[in-house]
Protein backbone atom coordinates (compact mmCIF):
# COMPACT_ATOMS: atom_id res chain seq x y z
CA UNK A 1 0.00 0.00 0.00
CA UNK A 2 1.11 3.54 -0.71
CA UNK A 3 -0.10 6.18 1.73
CA UNK A 4 0.62 9.85 1.21
CA UNK A 5 -0.09 12.43 3.85
CA UNK A 6 0.45 16.16 3.58
CA UNK A 7 3.18 15.74 1.00
CA UNK A 8 4.79 18.89 -0.28
CA UNK A 9 7.55 19.40 -2.77
CA UNK A 10 9.03 22.41 -4.47
CA UNK A 11 12.06 23.02 -6.64
CA UNK A 12 14.73 25.36 -5.34
CA UNK A 13 13.88 28.12 -7.79
CA UNK A 14 10.40 28.18 -6.29
CA UNK A 15 8.62 28.02 -9.65
CA UNK A 16 6.82 24.79 -8.90
CA UNK A 17 5.06 23.53 -5.81
CA UNK A 18 3.30 20.22 -5.37
CA UNK A 19 0.96 19.60 -2.50
CA UNK A 20 -0.92 16.35 -1.93
CA UNK A 21 -2.98 16.39 1.28
CA UNK A 22 -4.00 12.71 1.36
CA UNK A 23 -3.72 9.92 -1.20
CA UNK A 24 -3.94 6.16 -0.67
CA UNK A 25 -3.23 3.42 -3.18
CA UNK A 26 -4.01 -0.16 -2.16
CA UNK A 27 -1.66 -3.09 -2.83
CA UNK A 28 -2.44 -5.08 -5.93
CA UNK A 29 -4.43 -2.22 -7.37
CA UNK A 30 -3.61 0.01 -10.26
CA UNK A 31 -3.79 3.75 -10.55
CA UNK A 32 -3.38 6.00 -13.52
CA UNK A 33 -2.23 9.60 -13.25
CA UNK A 34 -3.49 12.04 -15.80
CA UNK A 35 -2.91 15.70 -16.14
CA UNK A 36 -1.39 18.27 -18.39
CA UNK A 37 2.34 18.49 -18.94
CA UNK A 38 4.13 20.20 -16.12
CA UNK A 39 1.55 19.21 -13.52
CA UNK A 40 4.13 17.21 -11.52
CA UNK A 41 3.30 13.64 -12.57
CA UNK A 42 6.93 12.57 -13.12
CA UNK A 43 7.98 14.43 -9.98
CA UNK A 44 5.40 12.49 -8.03
CA UNK A 45 6.76 9.16 -9.30
CA UNK A 46 10.30 10.30 -8.39
CA UNK A 47 9.12 11.18 -4.89
CA UNK A 48 7.57 7.73 -4.38
CA UNK A 49 10.76 6.07 -5.66
CA UNK A 50 12.88 8.18 -3.34
CA UNK A 51 14.81 9.70 -6.22
CA UNK A 52 13.73 13.18 -5.08
CA UNK A 53 13.46 14.09 -1.41
CA UNK A 54 10.18 15.70 -0.37
CA UNK A 55 9.99 19.13 1.21
CA UNK A 56 7.57 17.87 3.83
CA UNK A 57 4.87 15.37 4.68
CA UNK A 58 4.97 11.61 4.49
CA UNK A 59 5.13 8.93 1.81
CA UNK A 60 4.65 5.46 3.17
CA UNK A 61 5.27 2.46 0.94
CA UNK A 62 4.25 -0.62 2.86
CA UNK A 63 5.73 -0.02 6.29
CA UNK A 64 8.53 2.21 5.04
CA UNK A 65 8.42 5.97 5.34
CA UNK A 66 10.54 6.64 2.25
CA UNK A 67 11.65 10.14 3.19
CA UNK A 68 12.95 9.19 6.56
CA UNK A 69 15.53 6.94 4.89
CA UNK A 70 19.11 7.97 4.23
CA UNK A 71 20.29 8.32 0.64
CA UNK A 72 21.87 4.86 0.67
CA UNK A 73 18.79 3.26 2.20
CA UNK A 74 16.56 5.02 -0.33
CA UNK A 75 18.65 3.57 -3.14
CA UNK A 76 18.37 0.10 -1.66
CA UNK A 77 14.65 0.56 -1.05
CA UNK A 78 14.22 1.54 -4.69
CA UNK A 79 16.19 -1.39 -5.95
CA UNK A 80 14.31 -3.87 -3.78
CA UNK A 81 10.78 -2.50 -3.93
CA UNK A 82 10.28 -0.27 -6.94
CA UNK A 83 10.20 -1.17 -10.60
CA UNK A 84 10.44 1.85 -12.87
CA UNK A 85 9.72 2.47 -16.52
CA UNK A 86 11.23 5.79 -17.46
CA UNK A 87 9.95 8.20 -20.07
CA UNK A 88 13.19 7.90 -22.05
CA UNK A 89 13.62 4.17 -21.26
CA UNK A 90 17.19 4.64 -19.98
CA UNK A 91 18.55 1.40 -21.35
CA UNK A 92 22.29 0.71 -21.26
CA UNK A 93 23.73 0.83 -24.77
CA UNK A 94 26.58 -1.63 -24.19
CA UNK A 95 24.29 -4.38 -22.89
CA UNK A 96 22.11 -6.58 -25.06
CA UNK A 97 18.37 -6.91 -24.54
CA UNK A 98 18.59 -9.77 -22.03
CA UNK A 99 21.36 -8.09 -20.02
CA UNK A 100 19.36 -4.87 -19.90
CA UNK A 101 16.41 -6.75 -18.45
CA UNK A 102 18.76 -8.43 -15.94
CA UNK A 103 20.42 -5.12 -14.97
CA UNK A 104 18.62 -4.74 -11.59
CA UNK A 105 20.21 -8.08 -10.55
CA UNK A 106 23.63 -6.98 -11.72
CA UNK A 107 23.55 -3.87 -9.54
CA UNK A 108 21.77 -5.53 -6.63
CA UNK A 109 24.04 -6.04 -3.61
CA UNK A 110 22.67 -9.48 -2.74
CA UNK A 111 20.87 -10.86 -5.79
CA UNK A 112 22.87 -12.93 -8.24
CA UNK A 113 21.93 -13.80 -11.78
CA UNK A 114 20.54 -17.30 -11.48
CA UNK A 115 19.08 -19.61 -14.06
CA UNK A 116 15.62 -18.91 -12.63
CA UNK A 117 16.09 -15.17 -13.09
CA UNK A 118 17.32 -15.68 -16.62
CA UNK A 119 14.28 -17.80 -17.36
CA UNK A 120 12.02 -15.13 -15.84
CA UNK A 121 13.69 -12.47 -17.98
CA UNK A 122 13.20 -14.63 -21.08
CA UNK A 123 9.59 -15.23 -20.15
CA UNK A 124 8.94 -11.52 -19.73
CA UNK A 125 10.56 -10.83 -23.09
CA UNK A 126 8.44 -13.55 -24.61
CA UNK A 127 5.29 -11.97 -23.20
CA UNK A 128 6.09 -8.73 -25.04
CA UNK A 129 7.13 -10.62 -28.19
CA UNK A 130 10.76 -9.77 -27.81
CA UNK A 131 12.23 -13.24 -27.25
CA UNK A 132 13.94 -13.28 -30.65
CA UNK A 133 15.75 -10.05 -29.68
CA UNK A 134 17.39 -11.37 -26.51
CA UNK A 135 20.97 -11.20 -27.81
CA UNK A 136 20.50 -8.09 -29.88
CA UNK A 137 22.01 -4.75 -28.93
CA UNK A 138 19.43 -2.27 -27.65
CA UNK A 139 20.87 0.34 -30.00
CA UNK A 140 19.39 -1.64 -32.91
CA UNK A 141 15.86 -1.54 -31.53
CA UNK A 142 12.98 0.74 -32.44
CA UNK A 143 11.50 3.07 -29.83
CA UNK A 144 8.60 0.71 -29.23
CA UNK A 145 10.92 -2.25 -28.77
CA UNK A 146 13.11 -0.31 -26.34
CA UNK A 147 9.98 0.59 -24.42
CA UNK A 148 9.08 -3.07 -24.04
CA UNK A 149 12.59 -3.95 -22.83
CA UNK A 150 12.34 -1.19 -20.22
CA UNK A 151 9.03 -2.64 -18.99
CA UNK A 152 10.52 -6.13 -18.68
CA UNK A 153 13.39 -4.67 -16.65
CA UNK A 154 10.94 -2.99 -14.28
CA UNK A 155 9.01 -6.22 -13.71
CA UNK A 156 11.97 -8.58 -13.34
CA UNK A 157 12.30 -8.61 -9.55
CA UNK A 158 8.51 -8.57 -8.93
CA UNK A 159 8.67 -5.25 -7.09
CA UNK A 160 6.16 -4.03 -4.49
CA UNK A 161 5.48 -0.92 -6.56
CA UNK A 162 5.69 -0.40 -10.31
CA UNK A 163 6.00 3.18 -11.49
CA UNK A 164 5.53 3.62 -15.21
CA UNK A 165 6.02 7.01 -16.76
CA UNK A 166 4.15 6.99 -20.05
CA UNK A 167 5.13 3.42 -20.96
CA UNK A 168 2.81 3.39 -23.95
CA UNK A 169 3.86 6.74 -25.31
CA UNK A 170 5.68 5.26 -28.28
CA UNK A 171 3.41 2.32 -28.98
CA UNK A 172 0.61 1.70 -31.39
CA UNK A 173 -2.86 1.11 -29.83
CA UNK A 174 -2.59 -2.70 -30.04
CA UNK A 175 0.84 -2.82 -28.37
CA UNK A 176 -0.22 -0.15 -25.87
CA UNK A 177 -3.14 -2.31 -24.86
CA UNK A 178 -0.88 -5.34 -24.56
CA UNK A 179 1.67 -3.51 -22.42
CA UNK A 180 -0.95 -2.21 -20.02
CA UNK A 181 -2.40 -5.71 -19.76
CA UNK A 182 1.06 -7.12 -19.02
CA UNK A 183 1.71 -4.51 -16.36
CA UNK A 184 -1.68 -5.15 -14.78
CA UNK A 185 -1.33 -8.93 -14.87
CA UNK A 186 2.19 -8.95 -13.44
CA UNK A 187 1.45 -6.48 -10.66
CA UNK A 188 -1.77 -8.23 -9.73
CA UNK A 189 0.02 -11.57 -9.62
CA UNK A 190 2.70 -10.26 -7.27
CA UNK A 191 0.31 -8.05 -5.29
CA UNK A 192 2.17 -4.94 -6.35
CA UNK A 193 0.76 -1.46 -6.73
CA UNK A 194 0.90 -0.05 -10.24
CA UNK A 195 1.05 3.68 -10.84
CA UNK A 196 1.13 4.74 -14.43
CA UNK A 197 1.31 8.15 -16.01
CA UNK A 198 -0.37 8.49 -19.39
CA UNK A 199 -1.91 10.93 -21.75
CA UNK A 200 -3.83 8.17 -23.53
CA UNK A 201 -7.32 8.42 -22.13
CA UNK A 202 -8.45 5.27 -23.99
CA UNK A 203 -6.45 3.22 -21.49
CA UNK A 204 -8.10 4.71 -18.38
CA UNK A 205 -10.93 2.13 -18.09
CA UNK A 206 -8.30 -0.59 -17.47
CA UNK A 207 -7.22 0.98 -14.14
CA UNK A 208 -8.81 0.74 -10.73
CA UNK A 209 -8.15 4.35 -9.81
CA UNK A 210 -7.74 7.54 -11.84
CA UNK A 211 -5.87 10.45 -10.29
CA UNK A 212 -6.28 13.79 -12.03
CA UNK A 213 -3.09 15.51 -11.04
CA UNK A 214 -3.66 19.16 -11.79
CA UNK A 215 -5.48 19.51 -8.48
CA UNK A 216 -2.20 19.03 -6.60
CA UNK A 217 -0.18 21.64 -8.44
CA UNK A 218 0.34 25.05 -6.85
CA UNK A 219 1.93 27.43 -9.34
CA UNK A 220 3.80 30.43 -8.10
CA UNK A 221 3.57 33.85 -9.74
CA UNK A 222 7.03 33.34 -11.24
CA UNK A 223 6.00 30.07 -12.89
CA UNK A 224 2.90 31.60 -14.37
CA UNK A 225 5.10 34.11 -16.21
CA UNK A 226 7.57 31.44 -17.36
CA UNK A 227 6.22 29.74 -20.50
CA UNK A 228 8.97 27.01 -20.41
CA UNK A 229 7.87 25.79 -17.00
CA UNK A 230 4.28 25.82 -18.05
CA UNK A 231 4.98 23.71 -21.16
CA UNK A 232 7.49 21.07 -20.01
CA UNK A 233 6.94 18.03 -17.87
CA UNK A 234 8.15 18.40 -14.32
Amino acid sequence: MIAINQLTFSYRDGTFRLRIPVLTLESGRSAVIVGPSGSGKTTFLNLIAGILPSSGGEIRVGHTDVHRLTDNDRRLFRLLNVGQVFQDFQLIDYLNVLDNVLLPCRIHPSVTVTKTLRERASLLLQSVEMSSFERRSVTCLSQGERQRVAICRALLLSPQVVLADEPTGNLDPVNAERIVRLLRTETRRSGATLIMVTHDHSLLPQFDQIIPFEQFLERTAAAKNDPQVAEGDT
Partner: protein, 404 residues
Protein backbone atom coordinates in the same frame (compact mmCIF):
# COMPACT_ATOMS: atom_id res chain seq x y z
CA UNK B 1 32.19 -7.86 -7.68
CA UNK B 2 31.46 -10.50 -10.31
CA UNK B 3 28.56 -8.43 -11.65
CA UNK B 4 30.62 -5.24 -11.61
CA UNK B 5 33.37 -7.02 -13.54
CA UNK B 6 30.82 -8.36 -16.01
CA UNK B 7 29.37 -4.90 -16.65
CA UNK B 8 32.85 -3.39 -16.87
CA UNK B 9 33.90 -6.06 -19.38
CA UNK B 10 30.82 -5.37 -21.51
CA UNK B 11 31.50 -1.64 -21.35
CA UNK B 12 35.14 -2.12 -22.38
CA UNK B 13 34.09 -4.33 -25.26
CA UNK B 14 31.55 -1.76 -26.37
CA UNK B 15 34.25 0.91 -26.53
CA UNK B 16 36.92 -1.31 -28.10
CA UNK B 17 38.98 1.46 -29.63
CA UNK B 18 39.25 3.48 -26.45
CA UNK B 19 39.90 0.36 -24.35
CA UNK B 20 42.62 -0.90 -26.68
CA UNK B 21 44.37 2.48 -26.69
CA UNK B 22 44.39 2.66 -22.89
CA UNK B 23 45.41 -0.98 -22.64
CA UNK B 24 48.39 -0.54 -24.95
CA UNK B 25 49.47 2.71 -23.27
CA UNK B 26 49.37 1.04 -19.88
CA UNK B 27 51.07 -2.11 -21.12
CA UNK B 28 53.95 -0.14 -22.64
CA UNK B 29 54.31 1.92 -19.47
CA UNK B 30 54.54 -1.24 -17.37
CA UNK B 31 56.57 -3.20 -19.92
CA UNK B 32 59.38 -0.67 -20.24
CA UNK B 33 60.67 -0.58 -16.64
CA UNK B 34 59.93 -4.27 -16.08
CA UNK B 35 61.86 -5.27 -19.17
CA UNK B 36 64.77 -2.97 -18.39
CA UNK B 37 64.90 -4.46 -14.92
CA UNK B 38 64.64 -8.08 -16.09
CA UNK B 39 67.09 -7.71 -18.94
CA UNK B 40 69.65 -5.92 -16.82
CA UNK B 41 69.21 -8.46 -14.04
CA UNK B 42 69.77 -11.30 -16.45
CA UNK B 43 72.70 -9.53 -18.02
CA UNK B 44 74.16 -8.80 -14.57
CA UNK B 45 73.63 -12.41 -13.49
CA UNK B 46 75.19 -13.86 -16.62
CA UNK B 47 78.13 -11.53 -16.67
CA UNK B 48 78.74 -11.94 -12.94
CA UNK B 49 78.40 -15.72 -13.08
CA UNK B 50 81.17 -16.04 -15.65
CA UNK B 51 83.35 -13.52 -13.87
CA UNK B 52 82.82 -15.22 -10.51
CA UNK B 53 83.69 -18.56 -12.09
CA UNK B 54 87.02 -17.20 -13.30
CA UNK B 55 89.42 -16.76 -10.39
CA UNK B 56 92.27 -14.85 -12.02
CA UNK B 57 93.18 -13.52 -15.42
CA UNK B 58 96.73 -12.74 -16.47
CA UNK B 59 97.63 -10.55 -19.42
CA UNK B 60 99.74 -7.73 -20.73
CA UNK B 61 99.56 -4.48 -18.80
CA UNK B 62 96.96 -2.04 -20.00
CA UNK B 63 93.20 -1.68 -19.69
CA UNK B 64 91.87 -3.96 -16.96
CA UNK B 65 88.36 -3.95 -18.41
CA UNK B 66 89.62 -4.81 -21.91
CA UNK B 67 91.67 -7.69 -20.57
CA UNK B 68 88.83 -9.05 -18.45
CA UNK B 69 86.30 -8.78 -21.30
CA UNK B 70 88.79 -10.41 -23.65
CA UNK B 71 89.52 -13.35 -21.36
CA UNK B 72 85.88 -13.87 -20.36
CA UNK B 73 83.99 -12.99 -23.52
CA UNK B 74 86.68 -13.17 -26.22
CA UNK B 75 85.85 -9.58 -26.94
CA UNK B 76 88.20 -6.62 -27.48
CA UNK B 77 91.88 -7.25 -28.03
CA UNK B 78 94.31 -6.46 -25.23
CA UNK B 79 96.79 -3.76 -26.24
CA UNK B 80 99.68 -6.21 -26.12
CA UNK B 81 100.38 -9.92 -25.94
CA UNK B 82 101.69 -11.91 -23.08
CA UNK B 83 103.56 -15.14 -23.72
CA UNK B 84 103.98 -18.78 -22.84
CA UNK B 85 106.73 -17.92 -20.37
CA UNK B 86 104.02 -16.70 -17.98
CA UNK B 87 102.18 -20.03 -18.28
CA UNK B 88 105.39 -21.90 -17.52
CA UNK B 89 106.05 -19.54 -14.64
CA UNK B 90 102.64 -20.30 -13.11
CA UNK B 91 103.12 -24.01 -13.69
CA UNK B 92 106.50 -23.81 -12.00
CA UNK B 93 104.84 -22.15 -9.03
CA UNK B 94 102.76 -25.21 -8.48
CA UNK B 95 104.01 -26.92 -5.39
CA UNK B 96 102.19 -28.87 -2.75
CA UNK B 97 101.39 -25.64 -0.89
CA UNK B 98 100.77 -23.30 -3.76
CA UNK B 99 99.00 -25.23 -6.44
CA UNK B 100 97.67 -23.45 -9.50
CA UNK B 101 97.36 -24.14 -13.14
CA UNK B 102 97.29 -21.83 -16.12
CA UNK B 103 95.10 -22.04 -19.20
CA UNK B 104 96.55 -20.24 -22.21
CA UNK B 105 94.26 -18.23 -24.47
CA UNK B 106 95.16 -17.06 -27.93
CA UNK B 107 92.18 -15.18 -29.31
CA UNK B 108 93.25 -13.08 -32.23
CA UNK B 109 91.63 -14.62 -35.30
CA UNK B 110 88.19 -15.30 -36.61
CA UNK B 111 86.89 -17.81 -39.11
CA UNK B 112 86.03 -16.60 -42.57
CA UNK B 113 82.63 -15.01 -42.90
CA UNK B 114 79.96 -16.51 -45.08
CA UNK B 115 77.25 -14.56 -46.84
CA UNK B 116 75.10 -13.18 -44.06
CA UNK B 117 77.06 -14.98 -41.36
CA UNK B 118 79.85 -13.26 -39.51
CA UNK B 119 82.95 -15.31 -38.82
CA UNK B 120 83.29 -16.81 -35.34
CA UNK B 121 86.12 -16.07 -32.99
CA UNK B 122 88.89 -18.72 -32.90
CA UNK B 123 89.99 -19.54 -29.39
CA UNK B 124 93.34 -21.26 -29.12
CA UNK B 125 93.62 -22.92 -25.75
CA UNK B 126 94.52 -26.12 -23.92
CA UNK B 127 92.26 -29.09 -23.04
CA UNK B 128 92.06 -27.79 -19.44
CA UNK B 129 89.82 -24.98 -20.69
CA UNK B 130 86.95 -27.37 -21.45
CA UNK B 131 87.25 -28.97 -18.04
CA UNK B 132 87.47 -25.59 -16.33
CA UNK B 133 84.36 -24.24 -18.09
CA UNK B 134 82.62 -27.61 -17.81
CA UNK B 135 82.02 -27.74 -21.55
CA UNK B 136 80.77 -30.97 -23.03
CA UNK B 137 81.02 -32.26 -26.55
CA UNK B 138 77.55 -32.91 -27.94
CA UNK B 139 78.64 -34.41 -31.23
CA UNK B 140 82.00 -35.86 -32.32
CA UNK B 141 85.07 -35.65 -30.13
CA UNK B 142 87.46 -33.15 -28.57
CA UNK B 143 90.62 -31.75 -30.16
CA UNK B 144 93.40 -34.28 -30.42
CA UNK B 145 95.57 -33.20 -33.35
CA UNK B 146 97.06 -30.00 -34.67
CA UNK B 147 94.50 -28.41 -37.04
CA UNK B 148 91.48 -29.93 -35.27
CA UNK B 149 88.78 -27.69 -33.94
CA UNK B 150 85.51 -28.00 -32.05
CA UNK B 151 82.78 -25.48 -32.66
CA UNK B 152 80.36 -23.88 -30.22
CA UNK B 153 76.70 -24.80 -30.57
CA UNK B 154 75.62 -21.44 -32.00
CA UNK B 155 78.44 -21.51 -34.57
CA UNK B 156 77.48 -25.04 -35.58
CA UNK B 157 73.85 -24.01 -36.00
CA UNK B 158 74.58 -20.80 -37.89
CA UNK B 159 77.22 -22.29 -40.20
CA UNK B 160 75.62 -25.74 -40.32
CA UNK B 161 78.83 -27.45 -39.27
CA UNK B 162 79.16 -31.07 -38.26
CA UNK B 163 82.14 -33.26 -37.39
CA UNK B 164 84.05 -33.97 -40.58
CA UNK B 165 83.42 -30.53 -42.06
CA UNK B 166 86.16 -27.96 -42.32
CA UNK B 167 86.39 -24.28 -41.59
CA UNK B 168 88.84 -21.60 -42.76
CA UNK B 169 90.50 -18.98 -40.61
CA UNK B 170 90.39 -15.40 -41.88
CA UNK B 171 93.65 -13.47 -42.34
CA UNK B 172 93.88 -10.64 -39.86
CA UNK B 173 95.12 -8.20 -42.44
CA UNK B 174 94.38 -8.63 -46.13
CA UNK B 175 97.32 -6.44 -47.10
CA UNK B 176 99.90 -8.40 -45.14
CA UNK B 177 101.09 -10.60 -48.01
CA UNK B 178 103.95 -12.12 -46.06
CA UNK B 179 101.83 -12.67 -42.96
CA UNK B 180 99.22 -15.16 -41.85
CA UNK B 181 97.69 -17.54 -44.33
CA UNK B 182 94.18 -18.86 -43.96
CA UNK B 183 94.28 -22.26 -42.34
CA UNK B 184 91.75 -24.93 -43.13
CA UNK B 185 90.75 -26.53 -39.83
CA UNK B 186 88.98 -29.83 -39.47
CA UNK B 187 85.81 -29.78 -37.35
CA UNK B 188 86.05 -32.82 -35.06
CA UNK B 189 83.28 -31.94 -32.64
CA UNK B 190 80.36 -29.69 -31.73
CA UNK B 191 80.04 -28.43 -28.15
CA UNK B 192 76.82 -28.73 -26.19
CA UNK B 193 74.93 -25.50 -25.57
CA UNK B 194 76.33 -23.69 -22.53
CA UNK B 195 74.45 -20.36 -22.81
CA UNK B 196 77.74 -18.50 -22.65
CA UNK B 197 80.14 -16.85 -25.10
CA UNK B 198 81.65 -20.32 -25.60
CA UNK B 199 78.64 -21.11 -27.79
CA UNK B 200 79.82 -18.50 -30.29
CA UNK B 201 83.46 -19.61 -30.50
CA UNK B 202 85.56 -22.09 -32.43
CA UNK B 203 88.04 -23.86 -30.17
CA UNK B 204 91.33 -25.19 -31.29
CA UNK B 205 94.65 -26.08 -29.76
CA UNK B 206 96.77 -23.03 -28.97
CA UNK B 207 99.46 -24.42 -31.30
CA UNK B 208 97.00 -24.31 -34.19
CA UNK B 209 96.48 -20.60 -33.61
CA UNK B 210 100.26 -20.15 -33.69
CA UNK B 211 100.21 -21.87 -37.06
CA UNK B 212 97.58 -19.33 -38.18
CA UNK B 213 99.83 -16.65 -36.70
CA UNK B 214 102.68 -17.85 -38.92
CA UNK B 215 104.88 -18.92 -36.03
CA UNK B 216 104.44 -22.55 -36.93
CA UNK B 217 104.07 -23.93 -40.41
CA UNK B 218 104.48 -26.97 -42.60
CA UNK B 219 105.82 -27.15 -46.11
CA UNK B 220 107.21 -29.59 -48.63
CA UNK B 221 110.53 -31.16 -47.74
CA UNK B 222 113.38 -29.48 -49.58
CA UNK B 223 116.15 -31.46 -51.20
CA UNK B 224 119.26 -29.25 -51.66
CA UNK B 225 120.22 -31.26 -54.74
CA UNK B 226 116.92 -31.27 -56.63
CA UNK B 227 115.21 -28.13 -55.27
CA UNK B 228 118.06 -25.67 -55.63
CA UNK B 229 115.77 -23.11 -57.30
CA UNK B 230 113.70 -22.97 -54.09
CA UNK B 231 116.71 -22.27 -51.88
CA UNK B 232 118.06 -18.96 -50.77
CA UNK B 233 120.98 -20.48 -48.91
CA UNK B 234 122.50 -23.94 -48.61
CA UNK B 235 124.91 -24.28 -45.75
CA UNK B 236 126.65 -27.54 -46.53
CA UNK B 237 128.76 -27.22 -43.39
CA UNK B 238 125.82 -27.34 -40.97
CA UNK B 239 123.47 -29.08 -43.37
CA UNK B 240 120.81 -26.39 -42.98
CA UNK B 241 119.00 -24.81 -45.88
CA UNK B 242 117.08 -21.53 -46.20
CA UNK B 243 114.12 -21.64 -48.56
CA UNK B 244 112.90 -18.68 -50.58
CA UNK B 245 109.32 -17.33 -50.76
CA UNK B 246 108.48 -19.69 -53.58
CA UNK B 247 108.07 -22.49 -51.07
CA UNK B 248 104.44 -22.15 -50.05
CA UNK B 249 103.41 -23.31 -46.61
CA UNK B 250 100.62 -25.85 -46.32
CA UNK B 251 97.22 -24.28 -45.71
CA UNK B 252 95.71 -27.45 -44.31
CA UNK B 253 97.03 -29.86 -41.76
CA UNK B 254 96.45 -33.42 -42.86
CA UNK B 255 97.67 -36.82 -41.73
CA UNK B 256 100.17 -36.75 -44.59
CA UNK B 257 101.72 -33.37 -43.82
CA UNK B 258 101.26 -33.07 -40.08
CA UNK B 259 104.81 -34.25 -39.42
CA UNK B 260 106.21 -31.42 -41.53
CA UNK B 261 104.72 -28.82 -39.19
CA UNK B 262 107.22 -27.15 -36.93
CA UNK B 263 107.56 -23.92 -34.98
CA UNK B 264 110.26 -21.31 -35.22
CA UNK B 265 111.52 -19.55 -32.15
CA UNK B 266 111.62 -20.10 -28.42
CA UNK B 267 108.36 -21.69 -27.14
CA UNK B 268 108.44 -19.44 -24.09
CA UNK B 269 108.15 -16.41 -26.34
CA UNK B 270 105.12 -17.67 -28.26
CA UNK B 271 102.29 -15.14 -27.91
CA UNK B 272 99.12 -15.46 -25.91
CA UNK B 273 96.43 -12.83 -25.57
CA UNK B 274 95.46 -13.84 -22.02
CA UNK B 275 95.95 -16.57 -19.46
CA UNK B 276 93.30 -17.93 -17.09
CA UNK B 277 94.84 -18.89 -13.77
CA UNK B 278 93.11 -21.36 -11.52
CA UNK B 279 94.69 -21.35 -8.06
CA UNK B 280 93.70 -24.35 -6.04
CA UNK B 281 94.29 -22.76 -2.68
CA UNK B 282 93.81 -19.30 -1.22
CA UNK B 283 97.52 -19.23 -0.50
CA UNK B 284 98.48 -19.78 -4.12
CA UNK B 285 95.96 -17.17 -5.18
CA UNK B 286 97.44 -14.61 -2.84
CA UNK B 287 100.93 -15.59 -3.90
CA UNK B 288 100.12 -15.13 -7.59
CA UNK B 289 98.37 -11.82 -7.01
CA UNK B 290 101.32 -10.61 -4.95
CA UNK B 291 103.72 -11.61 -7.62
CA UNK B 292 102.00 -9.52 -10.26
CA UNK B 293 101.12 -6.54 -8.06
CA UNK B 294 104.60 -5.12 -8.30
CA UNK B 295 105.16 -2.26 -10.70
CA UNK B 296 108.13 -4.21 -12.03
CA UNK B 297 105.96 -7.14 -13.02
CA UNK B 298 105.88 -7.88 -16.73
CA UNK B 299 102.17 -8.62 -16.76
CA UNK B 300 99.05 -7.77 -14.78
CA UNK B 301 96.93 -10.23 -12.89
CA UNK B 302 93.38 -9.27 -12.15
CA UNK B 303 90.35 -10.60 -10.33
CA UNK B 304 87.52 -10.66 -12.93
CA UNK B 305 84.66 -10.21 -10.40
CA UNK B 306 86.20 -6.90 -9.29
CA UNK B 307 86.68 -5.65 -12.84
CA UNK B 308 83.21 -6.71 -13.91
CA UNK B 309 81.81 -4.98 -10.84
CA UNK B 310 83.42 -1.76 -12.10
CA UNK B 311 81.78 -2.32 -15.46
CA UNK B 312 78.42 -3.08 -13.89
CA UNK B 313 78.50 0.17 -11.95
CA UNK B 314 78.30 1.87 -15.36
CA UNK B 315 75.38 -0.36 -16.29
CA UNK B 316 73.67 0.59 -13.00
CA UNK B 317 73.94 4.23 -13.97
CA UNK B 318 72.27 3.43 -17.29
CA UNK B 319 69.62 1.50 -15.39
CA UNK B 320 68.97 4.48 -13.14
CA UNK B 321 68.54 6.64 -16.21
CA UNK B 322 66.11 4.11 -17.65
CA UNK B 323 64.19 4.15 -14.36
CA UNK B 324 63.90 7.93 -14.40
CA UNK B 325 62.60 7.77 -18.00
CA UNK B 326 60.16 5.02 -17.04
CA UNK B 327 58.87 6.95 -14.04
CA UNK B 328 58.38 10.03 -16.22
CA UNK B 329 56.55 7.93 -18.82
CA UNK B 330 54.47 6.36 -16.03
CA UNK B 331 53.47 9.73 -14.61
CA UNK B 332 52.47 10.98 -18.06
CA UNK B 333 50.45 7.81 -18.71
CA UNK B 334 48.73 8.07 -15.33
CA UNK B 335 47.81 11.69 -16.02
CA UNK B 336 46.48 10.76 -19.45
CA UNK B 337 44.65 7.81 -17.97
CA UNK B 338 43.12 10.11 -15.37
CA UNK B 339 42.00 12.43 -18.13
CA UNK B 340 40.53 9.58 -20.16
CA UNK B 341 38.71 8.19 -17.10
CA UNK B 342 37.41 11.65 -16.28
CA UNK B 343 36.16 12.23 -19.81
CA UNK B 344 34.72 8.74 -19.89
CA UNK B 345 32.85 9.38 -16.64
CA UNK B 346 31.36 12.53 -18.15
CA UNK B 347 30.32 10.63 -21.25
CA UNK B 348 28.74 7.97 -19.09
CA UNK B 349 26.94 10.39 -16.82
CA UNK B 350 23.53 9.47 -18.20
CA UNK B 351 24.31 5.79 -17.72
CA UNK B 352 25.30 6.43 -14.11
CA UNK B 353 22.14 8.49 -13.66
CA UNK B 354 20.16 5.43 -14.80
CA UNK B 355 22.04 3.29 -12.32
CA UNK B 356 21.22 5.79 -9.58
CA UNK B 357 17.55 5.95 -10.55
CA UNK B 358 17.34 2.16 -10.52
CA UNK B 359 18.79 2.19 -7.00
CA UNK B 360 22.45 1.43 -7.56
CA UNK B 361 24.47 2.31 -4.47
CA UNK B 362 27.42 4.69 -4.49
CA UNK B 363 29.70 1.74 -3.71
CA UNK B 364 28.42 -0.22 -6.70
CA UNK B 365 28.83 2.79 -9.00
CA UNK B 366 32.39 3.21 -7.73
CA UNK B 367 32.94 -0.51 -8.24
CA UNK B 368 31.73 -0.23 -11.84
CA UNK B 369 34.33 2.43 -12.55
CA UNK B 370 36.96 0.66 -10.45
CA UNK B 371 36.35 -2.66 -12.20
CA UNK B 372 37.03 -1.07 -15.57
CA UNK B 373 40.30 0.36 -14.35
CA UNK B 374 41.13 -2.92 -12.63
CA UNK B 375 40.43 -4.94 -15.78
CA UNK B 376 42.54 -2.57 -17.86
CA UNK B 377 45.38 -2.64 -15.34
CA UNK B 378 45.31 -6.44 -14.99
CA UNK B 379 45.15 -6.99 -18.75
CA UNK B 380 47.93 -4.45 -19.29
CA UNK B 381 50.05 -6.12 -16.60
CA UNK B 382 49.57 -9.56 -18.15
CA UNK B 383 50.32 -8.18 -21.61
CA UNK B 384 53.39 -6.36 -20.32
CA UNK B 385 54.54 -9.47 -18.45
CA UNK B 386 54.24 -11.68 -21.52
CA UNK B 387 55.97 -9.05 -23.65
CA UNK B 388 58.73 -8.71 -21.05
CA UNK B 389 59.30 -12.47 -20.98
CA UNK B 390 59.37 -12.63 -24.77
CA UNK B 391 61.77 -9.70 -24.84
CA UNK B 392 63.91 -11.42 -22.26
CA UNK B 393 64.25 -14.45 -24.53
CA UNK B 394 65.93 -12.36 -27.19
CA UNK B 395 67.12 -9.18 -25.52
CA UNK B 396 69.79 -10.68 -23.28
CA UNK B 397 71.78 -12.10 -26.19
CA UNK B 398 71.18 -8.95 -28.23
CA UNK B 399 72.35 -6.81 -25.34
CA UNK B 400 75.40 -8.99 -24.83
CA UNK B 401 76.25 -8.86 -28.52
CA UNK B 402 75.83 -5.07 -28.44
CA UNK B 403 78.04 -4.61 -25.40
CA UNK B 404 80.71 -7.20 -26.16
Amino acid sequence: MKNALYLAWKSLLWQRGRSLTILLSLAITIWLPVTVRLVLDQFRREISERANATPLVLGAKGSRIDLALHALYFDTLPPADTNMAEVESIDNLSTANAAAYAIPLHVRYRTQSRPGIEGAVIVGTSPEYFEFRRLKVAEGQTISLLGDCVVGSNVATKMQLHPGDSILSAPRNAFNLAGDYPLKMKVVGVMAQSHSPDDDAVFTDVRTTWVIDGIGHGHQELNPQTDSQLLLKNDTGTGSVTANAAVLPYTEITEDNIDSFHFHGEPASFPLTAILIVPETEKSRTQILGRYSSSLATAQCLKPPEVIEELLSIVFRIEQLAWVCSIAAGVVTCLLLGLVVNLSMRLRESEMQTMFRLGCSRTTIAMLHGSEILLLLCSASVLAGVAALLTLQFAASVLRSLLF
